[in-house]
Symmetry: C2
Subunit: 332 residues, 2 copies
């Protein structure tokens, strides 16, 4: 592109181009950011060296990098779902702090022969999920790479509330969850066998249904510890147990087995409880509350107790250590 007359050249190539190489970097960025509506907090949106916006209270920041072949497969996930997922998994981290979403930036690396149509559908997914989550896309970066990777960074605000950390769980509290458990893992099991049903599980694998607004709700209700379940319920509650120096005991009888998870477990001959207890990527919220303060639409799953003298912080199921894998580690 001739930088001195960029806008005319850009719109011409935009119509005819079929790959990112043909579009060029500046048009690719324009494709993702063109015509975005900004909230009143945003004074400078995409197109300058940085975006500028107001923060009410303290700023809360989180970043996640999704890589093709690790976090999604282009054979399994359409670009629209990949765009949605990139937003959802990041905003879940803001929810997990009890913060309200404000703005996000997105960096995309992709091979030069990626279809322009792929970028269009990906961008639509990003925008739709951002609208759903109540967050503004304010800037980004694009570059060439062998594999597609997407790095989203989200900024939220505390609005004067204390952020809800992992370290605030206290003996005597209850543990409650809002959102799905086991659906995405069941979807993965199905996709890995070459099937596309049950559809609800497969859709959950392609993009999680994050309970937007539930983080703020929990903070207002007095939650003292919270996180989003990305690696599996037991693994993630283990982070709360560690950070709070407590023992968490999950009551299996309180765990529902959702129909799609049951269907996948039956079809694959697996214990459905394994999906629910150790399946990651659904990004439900798990939080600790004083008894009697749990919001109505959260599900109580267990309780927090102090450590015995020689006991490590840990998560138990019906009072016993869980046998088997606890969740997902990206380097193992």
């Amino acid at each position: 592109m001739d930088a001195t007359t960029g806008r005319t050249g850009a719109s011409r190539r935009d119509r005819d181009a079929e790959t990112l190489d043909q579009l060029g970097e500046f048009v690719a960025i324009d494709r993702v950011t063109r015509g975005l509506t900004m909230s009143s907090a945003v004074s400078v949106g995409p197109g300058d060296d940085g975006a500028v916006f107001l923060i009410n209270g303290s700023a809360v920041v989180s970043t996640d990098l999704l890589v093709e072949g690790v976090h999604f497969k282009t054979e399994w996930s359409d670009p629209h779902s990949i765009g949605r997922k990139a937003v959802a998994v990041n905003v879940a981290d803001l929810e997990a702090m009890g913060a309200s979403p404000v703005s996000m930036v997105l960096a995309l690396a992709a091979p030069g022969d990626t279809a322009a149509q792929w970028l269009r559908e990906f961008s639509t997914g990003v925008r739709e999920e951002a609208d759903r989550a109540g967050i503004c896309l304010v800037g980004g970066d694009t570059t060439r790479a062998r594999d597609i990777s997407i790095c989203v960074t989200v900024v939220g605000q505390t609005e004067g509330r204390s952020p809800v950390l992992r370290s605030g769980a206290r003996p005597g509290q209850v543990v409650a969850v809002k959102g799905r458990l086991g659906w995405a893992a069941a979807g993965l099991a199905v996709l890995a066998r070459g099937f596309r049903a049950p559809r609800a599980a497969v859709e959950s694998q392609r993009c999680p249904q994050v309970p937007y607004g539930a983080g703020r709700q929990a903070a207002l209700a007095g939650a003292t510890a919270m996180l989003d379940v990305s690696d599996g319920l037991l693994a993630d509650l283990g982070h709360i147990a560690d950070a709070s120096d407590v023992v968490i005991d999950i009551d299996r009888a309180r765990l529902d087995i959702p129909d799609p998870v049951m269907a996948v477990a039956s079809a694959t001959g697996k214990d459905p409880m394994v999906f629910v207890l150790t399946g990651g990527e659904d990004h439900a919220l798990a939080a600790c509350f004083e008894p009697g303060t749990v919001p109505d639409d959260w599900q109580v799953l267990g309780r927090v107790r102090g450590r015995e003298a020689d006991e490590a912080p840990r998560v138990l199921v019906d009072g016993l250590p869980w046998q088997g894998s606890q969740g997902w580690d990206h380097f193992h």
Copy 2:
């Protein structure tokens, strides 16, 4: 890792491990973030779902994704330089808005067989450059991938100043630069031929020398338009010309040819002015000021004038269009 007893297991593996696969995700994150000192603005650092910090004025955010083979080559750049560069190119964007750096998050994707030693040197580079730039690393993400890629997102604050955009250049102003021009491109030309000298040019290619603090200085001096020179002086001033709807005329006689650039030009039979006018990756700051208000240590290079009736916004050199490439586009 057993999530319920993670800390003990982690430190044991940490001592013996030689690759990221052996370290595991949680130890890799710990390696990057352990023992960081936080500024007083940061109330929650690494280790939770998000970091929390105060913002003075409006927040300014920018993100950049560096990919192995595109933005750096592991044969040419040591991990320490790659870590430094990932911080420097991002903070340059905050400087270009006239903002003061506050905090950054870093997402790293790398092959599982990457040496733990690589991660250690990379982290040291990140920390040293963050200290130099006056920014706190407050969180991150690590994941497996075929190629190394690094996404840094920086957050700055306006401290009550107006952000300096690209759209504020006005006829009658002068254009001035603070920082290096052409050094990194000269270094690239040398490395591409298999040489390692002149060392100053090669070092500039490995990690730019961003003029930290000069963005705030320019904003306080009344700069009305600014950016950092990442794609080449002419290409980037073209963005100011476009956004401000003006013509910028560069005076070649005002451009110094630095010794290392001259040496590379002589050795390769190239016009040194091409490096200075079109070489990217040095991340100097270029800004427009009213005459007489340019800070002492900035170098005036040209002037801003209005467009003629049928003239496009553009950048001229000694009153004439520049013949040849204007700079770098990652998809071309």
